[in-house]
Symmetry: D3
């Protein structure tokens, strides 16, 4: 039976990236994987501020929880800030939760000793740096390199995007000893192929990585029972408490989830 | 003119802690400080799960932003997880933002070399540990010590609470070389006094610390212009973007804020 | 077409673990994976000393190189010390190289925040600790726990082995806040299943992990070109140099490899 | 009643900075604070060598102890190397001890994520770096930047000083991601105001910071009993021992202190 | 020609340790080394407080400088806190400066992977810990272990001292994985021999180590010109400045030194 | 009686460096030291790849073990990668084992605060970096600087070599605050003298350092019993095991060693 993955673009559906993202995912997923792509009913158009991450957090988590109820095998929070990754693992029991940054650096860690992450702008760095620290891999980070572009411009002038990423990657390789390049924004999707042919080193795509990682983790969970540990960090809140407090009456999109 | 501080209990107002918290704050604030205490219209009763932190994040930030618009000099996010601390600094321009954990450890850092934090349960540790790492002071941390109590039970059987905190503090002092004790939950308020008389070392109260810290930071901002830096980490999202995306129409409590 | 993996037990074939290891692997590999298991023609019976690791290093690397020449898609160096992992990636170009410790901790990193590794004896710890440091994940390590057993006794009195591992795991969970357990010796294979049912947290098997990881990495290489980076750390020695120096005439088992 | 602070310029009184420093302090202290400024009877003119720090250490500590005996509420050791900070806390019981570097970085830590320190010359860096490590905040340090000036020249050609600091700060902001600037020498006093107007980020003055910090700590001690912890690091030597050894007869300026 | 070393007991000569220390040193020095042992004219009887370290700092440095002038090849500051080590290297040009803690851990580093330091009491730990951090070897430290003894009691009831050190060492070996033991007080001299016979691992004596290290460094300086680097950290203060300020008139024991 | 040291060039004897290396060593050793220099019967001509290190590992260790049997007091593994350093300490009981990188950085640590290592090419850095981390001194490392030369070219055009090293050292000193320079390849031998006259800071030679360090450690072992600790990290494999497995029959050069 097919493995079902829900890819959540944690931004407003007005951005209208679902279709190109879905097409791209369909071109790279395993044949026995089925992926649905959704965005949020409301929300900002990108997440390059802490605040925007905060705004979409609740809605994203409820989509994740809904995915679990609907029988998905994995939910992917499709933004390189990995918003809600730990929270999602905390409130679910059975489903695999993946996100671009964690998946990308875990994959990169097996490919070369040090990796650099190409980001949209300097503003991205503090939070992403913190994530790499919390994921425990900061000593493998060669550098962050900014291309100074708006997130939603990555797919507009592709030649210019390509030129900037290429330049940033060269800087990472020659000045910071990066051995692997990570494209640190899901909107940089698709560029990896041409880049890695030019650079001759692996270039990790922020959509391919979590899809593949999720497929991998689904297999591990189904065959070996290796799901997210439910003690300490990801221990779930007690449903009794959630019901007693009638939280579902208070947060509209929580209806029917608990 | 009085300095005005808004203390936000980032939990449901049903918990009904506003009054005791306000009374306690009034007993420790400077005479020229005026503090208002509020809770949220909706939300969980405590924040001991990532998910609960996520649920209250948006509402809390909007209360903070509202506080700035209403002329408060500082807003304090009254939970030891410091939920939304960076986000709040990002979306405001003028107001001081404080929170218990950051304020407590910055104060403790000037009082002794190593500090221990007494927490409600083991579940608190991963996120709080991460906060101490991100605040940069992990090398000053002696230990976390759990008293294995529900947050909302701290103020019920005070003798038992006292007994447990005392025992945990002794452990921290004698086995982990702690020189300062931090009571790592706002619901542990008030116990510091008796404890520090017994232990003969400073015991930081998680309500006193952020109130005093906020008064201090207000003075620094008013007299020396030392407010939260608005480049890089705390750079605000552009209002034009927020308006263009009509975010206020999407998030009910955002009305009139931007 | 099937993916072909060579599992190398980097110890003397006299140990005669090939058959049980092969049987176990066949029970957990993907159906489209074909795994061959070999040992070395010569060598010690276990690798619990630096010296034994050194003795088998050359022969193991040449088996890896041979595997590449024979068209294998991956070679796994089947010992939790990961002997020759970097060397093997350096001398190959196309093949995936995996090893138990790296694979296990990269998998564990996505399952819980902190992991503990159950090892045979204290002597194992210094080198394994160093590996975890070099892999960059030391901040995710909760502890090493020794069961004080000879490597080759793990599969003898299984009840006693189980009892000891269980006890060590409990210590890791309750005293060191481990959220995932890694069985840090390939000879601990098979125990994970019962253990994780009892402990209710993921228990990583040191044979399953690298097999699954290798299958994963093969897919990434075949479909996305993500192979081990060949600059800096894993840059290959020039064949011209190897030929000029006539190294193949000097090391008997190097014949025909370069 | 007014809080009394003693500011000790730990250099020879021949330098004659007491008056300008006192004037500056009087312009920034709270109205209910009274500050006296003194220098040492003997000593070097600046402290930019370990040796000079060593020379003034005893005399400075005795001034601190004297301040405690004379009823001061705080003593500030007015040099950015913070000479004798721990020693002073060790030998006193009641009085607040503050110093520029510690106060500045604790304040900076609440204002932005990373701070840079502008120092007189490269020679300053090793010891100050060590201080930041020992204060536990090295991960918040963006960089040290030298302006290559003699300490006692800062206040001479103010335009040139300003030009150099400005240039160093720009470097810190644009190349090292500093979000807060600290002027790492008390002789850089007064420049912060104009600088922060130009740079649009907080610029910490090394005299204002410890004065404000001392006022803050006095309040904490008086109202909440939060003084320097007297176990372990700052535990005082026993007076009985000091008397028995007749130390006061041996060190002239120790007379009457113990 | 004999190499001349000055061992400075940086405590009051009233302690009267010069003779036993000299006898011990004469039993362990090279035959072509000549060692003189002195104490200070004034000072405390031990240095177990920051303050006592501060009191003796100036006098100790001047003894060091005097030793250089008198043609000694090395000066050793004979206390495990290494007071004035950097300062002494800063003010001298030709002479080797050594101290017990630095010498002991550099020697231990070549003998085993992790070392533990046996100290008199818990009060010793914060400063010594800081030294190990500043020397850069904190990751090799297994632990500090306290024997809870007064420094000046070590040589009184030797059986009891031995018993306590032995017990502390066993704890370090079996619970903290120490592979080398360092006796972290010069007053523990002489015990190493019997201890290492019992423990079967190297036990570093805090007097032997700096003597041997000094002999070693003298040879390196004489034959290869490898003396303390005089840029940055140990750059000397300009003599012109010292003369211009007439420092020698101000500090009695500085007469004739500059 | 003379101390006997065996210097092992762990490369093929075809390289023919034994004579110049021996001559150089004879010019710098103590008069009561006798040094023999050998190379391997087989092997690559340099070790700038992990693989080459692996190839020579077994033969090198057996030479070390043989040296112990033949009564040498120390064996030095003469390559800056320190191949087999820990392994050699593990399999021997009495003999001192030294290697260039460890010896050089332990010596440098006493000469200045931060050191830079001048290496042949960027490829050297990852493994050497790892060594510095494992030796525990990474916080004292200012930088690695590459001169982009083949190892075996260092002694060819000496003027060009000198020019490149000089330039790299200047970069280390002025841009990375290095206070000591280490020549990170044994083939850079002899250049230190002129360099340190020009640079005015200590320049460590990678042959002098381990020779002197070995002489030092021999003295410590002979007079004080301070040999490599034989618990945990360097605990020897049991000879009974080695015999039982008949390893000597399997590895030709192991004959007669166990």
């Amino acid at each position: 039976m097919a493995n079902r993955i829900l890819w959540i673009n944690p931004v407003s559906e007005v951005v209208a990236f679902d279709r190109p993202v879905a097409e791209f995912i369909n071109s790279i997923k395993r044949s026995d994987t089925q992926v649905d792509v959704i965005s949020l009913k409301r929300g900002p158009m990108h997440l390059n501020y802490y605040y925007y991450n905060a705004l979409i957090l609740g809605d994203t988590l409820h989509q994740v929880k809904r995915a679990e109820k609907e029988g998905y095998d994995a939910a992917i929070i499709g933004c390189f800030y990995d918003p809600g990754l730990r929270e999602a693992r905390e409130i679910t029991n059975r489903i695999v939760i993946a996100a671009p940054a964690e998946a990308s650096i875990l994959i990169a860690a097996g490919l070369g000793h040090r990796f650099s992450i190409i980001v949209a702008s300097d503003k991205c760095i503090p939070k992403m740096y913190e994530n790499v620290v919390n994921y425990g891999l900061i000593n493998r980070l060669a550098s962050f390199e900014s291309v100074d572009l708006e997130v939603n411009d990555f797919q507009k002038d592709k030649t210019e995007t390509m030129r900037r990423i290429h330049k940033a990657a060269e800087r990472a390789i020659h000045e910071k000893f990066a051995e692997v390049i990570i494209l640190g924004c899901t909107m940089e999707f698709g560029f990896y192929k041409e880049l890695q042919e030019e650079l001759k080193i692996p270039v990790i795509d922020a959509i391919v990585a979590p899809i593949k990682y999720a497929e991998f983790m689904i297999e591990l969970r189904k065959n070996f029972g290796w799901g997210h540990s439910k003690i300490c960090s990801y221990k779930s809140p007690p449903i009794s408490e959630i019901k007693e407090w009638k939280l579902s009456d208070q947060y509209p999109d929580m209806k029917g989830l608990w």
